[in-house]
């Protein structure tokens, strides 16, 4: 059966999906400069305003339910992808007490987020994934396959990651963070911005008038290095090809690539090469210039952005771009109005994990 994306919502540094799309089309970054994570080190971070991450998580899911034709999620499978899970709270406790005595290990891992949602919404069942920056992209991959084989009728895919000292400091020591809002694909790009976000998409085997179709999913592994991508882009090319094959689409049927585009020296170089190799002049941009890199939530939030791009018929311009590094790819400085048939969204992670998702108008 076909998979249809029928309802979605996000919470991110730019706000909800309406505010986010406005920021994207107005080329307004929601990344702010922060000096409180690492002493004397200004960092560009994508921060949200909230009191309790779990409450925000439930709010986003509630909005998706409200916008859908479902009464409740009792006949819906939840698949959640996150890279830090409940770590933000574990860190707070540890930094406050300077020991782990008050740490509740049952509130540390990934499942903590999905357990909270299952409690609130009584999902049919739940599954949690954690593959770093491809977490929610892989959640979408599994969701599509489960609907393909008619195992479930309704699946809610959630991507969620809260800002943690571990990730900010960890990326800092990898020399990949920028002290400013990131500039994907730019010649002078100076690294990525860690960010937090929550995104949820309801995927069903029934079509609606507003539906967008989840047409194809593909994944691969570089098997090259624990963090750096294969400089020949073989893994990225393989995941995009696999997604296109799964969608039964030709290269020329893709109108836009929502790139992983973290603005690190390594990623953008390799991803540009992969896009240059596979496509002929397709529009490419990275919305991480607006949201920052939302890690485990990236796959989901960028899938939502891809849906909006199709519905609005408007290709997002590249925020922050001054001089394009690889001039063989087509990165627009201004929005382009056109019939957007299909979009491919990339997510690449530590461990050389690559996942690509194809979303398009209903066939």
């Amino acid at each position: 059966m076909n998979s249809y994306i029928n309802s979605y919502e996000v919470a991110c540094s730019a706000g909800d999906i309406k505010a986010l799309m406005n920021s994207i089309y107005e080329k307004k970054t929601a990344v702010s400069i922060n000096t409180s994570f690492i002493e004397d080190t200004p960092l560009g971070l994508g921060q949200m305003k909230y009191d309790d991450f779990y409450d925000l998580l439930a709010e986003v899911v509630q909005k998706v339910l409200d916008n859908s034709k479902l009464e409740n999620f009792h006949n819906t499978l939840l698949i959640l992808g996150s890279s830090v899970g409940g770590m933000q709270e574990s860190e707070k406790i540890f930094f406050r007490d300077k020991n782990y005595k008050n740490l509740d290990p049952r509130r540390h891992s990934i499942h903590v987020l999905s357990d909270h949602l299952v409690d609130k919404f009584s999902f049919l069942d739940s599954r949690s994934l954690s593959t770093a920056c491809t977490s929610s992209a892989n959640a979408l991959l599994l969701a599509k396959r489960l609907i393909d084989v008619e195992a479930y009728e309704n699946i809610l895919v959630v991507g969620a990651d809260a800002l943690c000292y571990t990730t900010v400091c960890g990326f800092h020591y990898l020399s990949v963070l920028s002290d400013k809002p990131c500039t994907p694909f730019d010649k002078e790009r100076g690294g990525m911005n860690v960010a937090e976000a929550i995104a949820a998409l309801l995927i069903q085997n029934t079509k609606d008038k507003d539906s967008v179709e989840l047409k194809g999913v593909g994944a691969s592994s570089d098997a090259y290095h624990m963090t750096n991508p294969d400089p020949e882009a073989k893994g990225a090319i393989a995941s995009m090809k696999a997604a296109l094959d799964d969608a039964s689409l030709n290269i020329d049927e893709i109108d836009y690539v929502n790139a992983h585009g973290t603005a690190t020296v390594a990623n953008d170089k390799v991803e540009s090469l992969a896009i240059e190799t596979l496509f002929n002049d397709v529009y490419v941009s990275s919305t991480k210039a607006v949201t920052g890199h939302t890690l485990g939530a990236a796959g989901a939030i960028e899938a939502v952005i891809s849906c909006e791009v199709i519905k609005k018929g408007l290709i997002p311009p590249q925020t922050g771009l001054i001089e394009l590094d690889n001039k063989s790819i087509n990165v627009p400085l201004n929005s382009v109005a056109m019939d957007v048939r299909n979009v491919i969204s990339n997510s690449f992670a530590f461990g050389g994990n690559n996942t690509s998702i194809v979303i398009g108008v209903c066939s």
């Binding site: 004397d40 080190t41 200004p42 020591y173 990898l174 020399s175 990949v176 002290d179 100076g190 690294g191 290095h225 624990m226 963090t227 750096n228 690190t264 020296v265 390594a266």
Partner: protein, 409 residues
């Protein structure tokens, strides 16, 4: 093309015994120059001050079997090296690989041992009373030899004893060794131990400061119109240079990248520096890095606060960089570390890159009219830097210029 990155740092200086301590001291504008009681013992020594490394328990930090062939200069180096090795997470098998080498220098071997040896042999007219280890301590390549033994180094060993350019030259030699494929790892550095022998050498040339013995903290005044000479200090440092892919495969942190190096001679006067020679080495280093003068965001000057040296350097710098490029000499804070200055000042350059922090020139208020109009920093500056330069110049008209770039993955 192989790229060379810095993956470990160790240092012992009058401003601290680690990268972070040095940074904190520079931020707090601390001075590392103090009054030295032992200099009072020599009446006609004009300078009575110097920079010293804080108390270190050599007995605890260095096993006796290694320590017995080391004078102070080698001991300081050994501690810096041990710290750099831990910082770079280098294990013994990697240290002892033929692909791992060292480059170290100092002006002299252990001054205290040399002084004692010569005094006693002369008094007693006999060598019998001398310790067999003495030569190992006072020989010019004592640092390189001792480091190699203590850390079981089997790769290249390049001693770079060239006075004030010793440790900069060591870094340059290490950079070339890794860049051109002879080594994957080069541990590079240099050192000097405090002793009146070093102060005496400069003192009789009239190069030392003598008017501020009662106020040591304001004695060293690079580029300032009221400067009256240099402060002789001790200190040591070691940095681990590594081939980039090698470092990435090991998953170690990277402090920065070495992208350019040049060394040259003036070929003119044996002590008086030549601005043309200085300018030439800076240009050659820029050529090696493939960049323009305008790409340099900060220069750490050699500027020791001597009359002639500072003037020549200012003109050489101005001719290439003009009046905008921020420049400072950190010898105002801690004096001249001699063999150790190149490496410690290179670490200050890495601090500038990573902490977006440009240190001021301590005790600098008014630029000497004879100096060219370069932008000497009188205050600390918080400024993003991508590429920085470290220059050092030595007796013999020897010049070095190193260029470091911020590393982004």
């Amino acid at each position: 093309m192989r790229r060379v990155v810095v993956t470990g740092i160790g240092l012992n200086s009058p401003l601290g015994n680690s990268y972070e301590e040095l940074y904190e001291s520079l931020k707090a504008e601390k001075s590392g120059v103090i009054h030295l009681a032992e200099f009072e013992e020599i009446d006609d020594l004009g300078t009575k001050i110097g920079g010293v490394v804080g108390d270190l328990d050599f007995k605890k930090l260095i096993p006796r079997k290694f320590r017995r062939s080391m004078g102070r200069v080698a001991q300081l180096s050994a501690i810096s090296t041990a710290n750099a090795i831990v910082d770079a997470s280098l294990e013994q098998d990697m240290l002892s690989s033929k692909r791992c080498g060292i480059a170290y220098g100092s002006t002299m071997g252990a001054d205290e041992t040399l002084f004692q040896w010569v005094s006693e042999v002369s008094e007693q007219n006999s060598y019998r009373g001398q310790n067999s280890m003495a030569f190992l301590k006072l020989m010019s390549h004592t640092v390189a030899a001792n480091i190699a033994q203590m850390f079981e180094i089997k790769g290249r060993n390049i001693p770079t004893c060239s006075a004030c350019t010793s440790s900069a030259m060591a870094i340059g030699a290490g950079y070339e060794s890794v860049k051109y494929g002879m080594s994957d790892i080069m541990i590079c550095g240099g050192s000097e131990g405090q002793h009146h022998l070093a102060a005496g050498v400069f003192d009789i040339m009239g190069a030392c400061t003598t008017s501020h013995n009662h106020e040591p903290e304001v004695a060293s005044r690079p580029f300032d119109e009221s400067r009256d000479g240099l402060v002789v200090s001790e200190g040591s440092g070691a940095i681990v240079l590594e081939e980039l892919e090698h470092a990435l495969a090991r998953g170690v942190k990277i402090y920065g990248e070495v992208i350019g190096y040049a060394t040259s001679c003036d070929g003119s006067h044996i002590t008086t520096p030549s601005k043309d020679g200085m300018q030439q080495v800076m240009q050659t280093s820029l050529d090696d890095a493939g960049i323009e003068p305008s790409d340099i965001d900060y220069i750490n000057a050699h500027a020791t606060a001597t009359q002639k040296g500072d003037i020549a350097e200012s003109h050489a710098t101005y001719n290439l960089f003009g009046a905008k490029t921020p420049i400072s000499s950190t010898k105002g804070h801690m004096g001249h570390l001699l063999g150790g200055c190149g490496v410690v000042e290179s670490v200050i350059c890495l601090i500038a890159l990573n902490k977006s922090f440009l240190p001021k020139t301590m005790n600098f208020k008014t630029l000497d009219k004879k100096c060219a109009n370069i932008n000497v920093l009188a205050n600390n500056e918080i400024k993003d830097s991508k590429i920085v330069m470290n220059n050092n110049f030595a007796f013999g008209g020897i010049n070095t210029s190193l260029i470091f770039k911020k590393y982004k993955g």
